[in-house]
């Protein structure tokens, strides 16, 4: 039976009413009585020693409340920021995690590094005072490029990290791969740059810290994807306050894409300093600060080789990657190019053996961490670029080479050589679906037509797989994670039958208030309008690990379902008592409880009322109808699919027009198809952005960030895209009660390889991302 506003329905979003009327409450919209304004003085150099900081003129400037430096934080026992995932090198040694102070103490290591925190009555006064701070720097030679950082004689970013190495890690069977290559009929090799990008959620990061001397409690409002994790880090590692004296609130958050997972220096400093000044402090990044300090994504240099037999079957895969960590290790940085990357190098294929090694390096750049897809886009980029190149090398249609090598739908569970166990999927189906959607067979005719107009047309595919719904706590713990990756929920009936759902997931555009309400509407038969979803406040929500890695529905939604199951269990007992039957005879369907074989029934609303007004109630049962659940997933989920891009290039201008896009994705069961489609659109757009337009550029010599504003960093606009064709197939995920897989990152994972393969097809040669018109024009001239 399908339920109104239940599972599988494209319900319009609850949250939209406040956003379309201008009533959203984003962080900068919140103001507190007596609030001051914070501003950071930042390093103008990529690498420098701080010889002296003279605050005397600034401290007496108009409106200045106080100014803090790294020495003040150290003196107060405040620690630095930490990385929460330990990676061991090949030789067993732990990764190098140099100190990461919130405010620099003796050196600055990237342009934008925090040097001092000025608190003043107005923002303008704080900025004016910053100009009066006299810092005596000794500039040092810097390094920003990851390959240069690995070279002998490169500037040393950290004393602790010899050769700038954070770790040198490996996975897979080197000997088996070497043997496979010896027996190969054909070997394809490729060198790829996965360009550094800036996530750019449209709401800049911000923080509002306050301290209540009466209760000794700090409150931090912050633009976070995971407020409980921020509280844990601030308490256990930074030492601002114990968890019970620290409340973290993430209100409406204007996009995250990974960059708001991490604990940053700014919010940490703002909440700590609020006690020192005895007044609330607000800090809001301007866009330039976002470019300088929001953790960047990607930045890999990779060499890969794939061995094939005479029939085009894969024999082995060898990958060597250098990953840029930036100047410090951000919260989950170490895991991204290892367990979120190399474990997906198997793609959708039967690969007998894989060997990958990843060297992570420090440079004088903004730290790099998870950005939409986090490691999996980088893996897909390598696998799908080399598959397409191999097909061309072997004179095969690239989709045929893939179809020949796909893991077959009856082969699950399928263990890959890089520790993943794929649970379900149908890769041939998503591939053929995408080909039909874009009329793959009609491409030759379209290409001829373009050619007649002097244009170059190309088509390219990307058959991606990701592991999301992270993750089983024991599994990630054994791989070095410092946290558990369960999720929590509470489903609380109010006496009048409405429901409040508390979730540890956090919505910053994903529409959880709608999707999660659909779960309850379906499972407990409560009208959609009577369900409120609460998230983003450590005092309201029991606990939570937050939203990233496409985990909210698979893990957070499963926790809600588990709590709803407990509600049903208890409601059955109450119903049995009220209807004078045995609990075993009570049947439940979408909130209606009936006695089997009779017409006696009660609704969940009636039962909730009885639970809170327990005049006629089972003697051995607690009153109330509210249940908590924690859910720890059994496995990752494995969304997969094929995206096919079609482009037309004007060889005279180098402009690439994305003329068509087909996305066939297997997300398992879908709760709200409208929202899922929207997630695919957004992900694909970010992937196209990376491939075509975006790229963080540092000046080689000075280490200055050259792409520090929207004037220089090319954000995709409406006229850069076609309409997207989006379809889903469904092999339900067997490892969670909802059968769902996760859809938030798929587009960003699939898109760059598909687009670059299409551009390669059109040009007949390979170029690196981003395929700017200048690069494409040059390639077209020399074609």
């Amino acid at each position: 039976m399908s339920v109104e506003n239940g599972i599988g329905v494209s319900v319009k979003r609850k949250e939209d009413q406040r956003f379309i009327t201008g009533n959203g409450k984003y962080l900068d919209d919140i103001n507190k009585f007596g609030q001051t304004h914070g501003h950071f003085l930042r390093s103008p150099y990529a690498f420098a020693k701080i010889k002296n900081i003279d605050l005397s003129a600034a401290k007496t400037a108009p409106g200045v409340v106080d100014i803090f430096t790294g020495a003040d934080m150290t003196a107060d026992g405040i620690g630095g920021l930490i990385c929460g995932w330990g990676i061991n090198s090949k030789d067993g040694s732990p990764h190098v995690a140099p100190p990461h102070p919130c405010l620099a103490t003796d050196t600055v290591k990237h342009v934008g590094d925090q040097v001092a925190f000025i608190v003043a009555e107005t923002l303008q006064q704080a900025k004016d005072a910053a100009e009066l701070i006299d810092v005596d720097y000794e500039e040092l030679k810097s390094v920003t490029d990851v390959r240069q950082a690995a070279a002998a004689g490169a500037p040393q970013v950290h004393e602790e990290a010899a050769g700038n190495q954070c770790y040198d890690w490996e996975i897979g069977d080197k000997a088996a791969v070497d043997a496979a290559f010896t027996n190969a009929h054909h070997i394809t090799k490729i060198d790829l740059i996965n360009n550094r990008v800036s996530p750019n959620p449209m709401e800049p990061r911000a923080a509002l810290g306050e301290y209540d001397p009466g209760t000794g409690e700090y409150t931090l409002h912050t633009t976070s994807q995971n407020p409980h994790v921020a509280r844990l880090l601030l308490s256990a590692f930074v030492g601002v306050a114990p968890e019970n004296k620290l409340r973290v609130i993430a209100p409406d958050v204007g996009g995250g894409f990974g960059t708001k997972i991490f604990l940053y220096a700014e919010e940490t400093t703002a909440v700590w300093a609020s006690k020192r000044v005895g007044r609330p402090i607000k800090w809001t990044a301007d866009r330039s600060e976002s470019f300088l300090t929001d953790a960047h994504g990607r930045d890999h240099a990779t060499h890969a080789e794939m061995a094939f037999d005479a029939d085009g079957h894969i024999l082995g895969f060898r990958v060597s990657t250098k990953a840029n960590m930036g100047a410090y290790l951000s919260t989950f940085a170490s895991a991204v190019p290892t367990y979120l990357y190399a474990t997906l190098l198997n793609g959708q294929y039967k690969m007998p053996c894989i060997y990958a090694e990843v060297q992570a390096l420090f440079t004088n750049t903004t730290p790099v961490d998870a950005y939409r897809g986090a490691g999996r886009p980088e893996a897909t980029y390598v696998v799908e670029r080399i598959m397409e190149r191999a097909a061309r090398d072997m004179n095969m249609d690239p989709t045929e080479l893939r179809l020949k090598n796909f893991i077959q739908p009856d082969a699950y569970p399928y263990e890959t050589p890089v520790i993943m166990t794929y649970d379900t999927g149908d890769y041939p189906l998503t591939m053929t679906t995408a080909k039909d959607m874009i009329d793959y067979t009609g491409f030759a005719a379209r290409k001829a037509k373009s050619a007649a107009n002097g244009k170059l047309r190309g088509i390219g595919s990307s058959a991606y797989i990701e592991a999301c719904g992270i993750a089983p706590s024991a599994a990630v713990g054994s791989l070095g994670a410092g946290v558990g990756l369960w999720e929590s929920a509470e489903v609380r009936f109010n006496p009048t039958g409405s429901v409040t759902v508390f979730t540890g997931s956090h919505s910053h555009g994903q529409g959880h208030e709608t999707t999660f309400a659909q779960l309850i509407a379906d499972q407990l038969g409560v009208p959609f309008e009577s369900i409120e979803v609460v998230h983003g406040d450590t005092t309201k929500v029991p606990f939570g690990m937050g939203t990233y890695g496409s985990r909210s529905l698979a893990v957070g939604g499963s926790a809600i379902t588990k709590a709803a199951d407990k509600i049903v269990e208890k409601a059955k007992k109450i119903a049995a008592h009220l209807m004078e039957a045995s609990a075993d005879d009570i049947e439940h369907s979408h909130g209606v409880f009936s006695v089997a074989g009779t017409d006696k029934q009660l609704t969940i609303g009636e039962i909730a009322f009885a639970a809170y007004v327990p005049h006629n109630y089972p003697a051995d049962l607690e009153p109330g109808l509210a249940e908590n659940a924690f859910y720890d997933p059994l496995n990752f989920t494995f969304p997969a699919g094929t995206h096919i891009a079609e482009v037309e290039i004007d060889p005279d201008t180098g402009v690439v027009e994305v003329v068509d896009w087909a996305a066939a994705d297997d997300f398992g069961n879908v709760i709200n198809p409208m929202i899922v489609e929207g997630q695919v659109h957004g992900g694909v757009a970010q992937g196209i952005g990376q491939a075509l337009l975006e790229g963080v550029v540092y000046d080689d010599d000075s280490g200055q960030l050259l792409t520090g504003s929207y004037m220089d960093y090319c954000m995709p606009r409406a006229d850069n895209f076609p309409n997207f064709r989006v379809e889903t197939t469904n092999t339900p995920c067997p490892s969670n009660p909802l059968g769902v897989k996760g859809c938030g990152e798929a587009g960003a994972i699939a898109a760059p390889a598909a687009l670059m393969n299409a551009i390669t097809d059109a040009l007949g040669k390979e170029i690196d991302m981003p395929a700017t018109s200048e690069k494409v024009w040059r390639a077209a001239q020399n074609a």
């Binding site: 319009k12 979003r13 949250e15 939209d16 009413q17 406040r18 956003f19 379309i20 009327t21 201008g22 009533n23 959203g24 409450k25 984003y26 900068d28 919209d29 750019n200 959620p201 449209m202 709401e203 800049p204 409406d252 958050v253 204007g254 996009g255 894409f257 301007d286 866009r287 330039s288 910053h508 555009g509 994903q510 529409g511 409208m674 929202i675 489609e677 929207g678 659109h681 957004g682 992900g683 694909v684 757009a685 970010q686 504003s709 929207y710 004037m711 954000m715 606009r717 409406a718 006229d719 895209f721 309409n723 997207f724 587009g747």
Partner: protein, 155 residues
């Protein structure tokens, strides 16, 4: 300090402001109308778009004193009471927003776009929205929303 007076969402307002106060600061900080957002510092993103005398304007590119005597409409003033503007409804109906941060500016630009192009093609919509950045939606459903609204607005 300079004194400014204008009509905002049908109400007349006066205040003394610093001469360098931007219109967006005046709207957000003096009037506490926080539906108008700030997404950049180079007048590129369009999150701050409002109407000044009926035309869409990036309120971060205008000083409050330049708007002296004007009639300003922000996202909070677009609906008539509980009746949403067709553009607002279309954004909800077509899932034209995700995080919602770009949305007020996007809607204000779109209303102006349809006023100038009563029956816009998809291409026109994409071109006209060039000054508004959305990071979430890939624009697909924004374009659909604007098209839908233009039809409902009797284009």
């Amino acid at each position: 300090m300079t004194s400014v007076s204008m009509t905002v969402n049908g109400k007349s307002v006066n205040a003394d402001v610093e001469p360098n106060t931007l219109l967006v600061q005046f709207i957000r900080e003096n009037l506490r109308l926080t539906g108008t957002h700030v997404g950049c510092d180079t007048s590129q993103c369009g999150a701050c778009t409002v109407h000044v005398n009926g035309d869409s304007v990036k309120s971060c590119t205008m000083l409050a004193v330049q708007a002296d005597g004007s009639d300003v409409t922000t996202i909070e003033g677009l609906a008539s009471g509980d009746d949403l503007h067709p553009m607002q409804t279309a954004f909800r109906e077509n899932h034209g927003l995700q995080c919602g941060f770009c949305t007020p500016g996007m809607i204000m630009s779109a209303v102006d776009l349809v006023k100038r192009n009563p029956n816009p093609t998809e291409e026109t919509i994409r071109k006209e929205l060039e000054g508004n950045i959305c990071r979430c939606t890939g624009y697909h459903n924004i374009v659909k929303s604007v098209k839908d609204a233009s039809e409902k607005m009797g284009g």
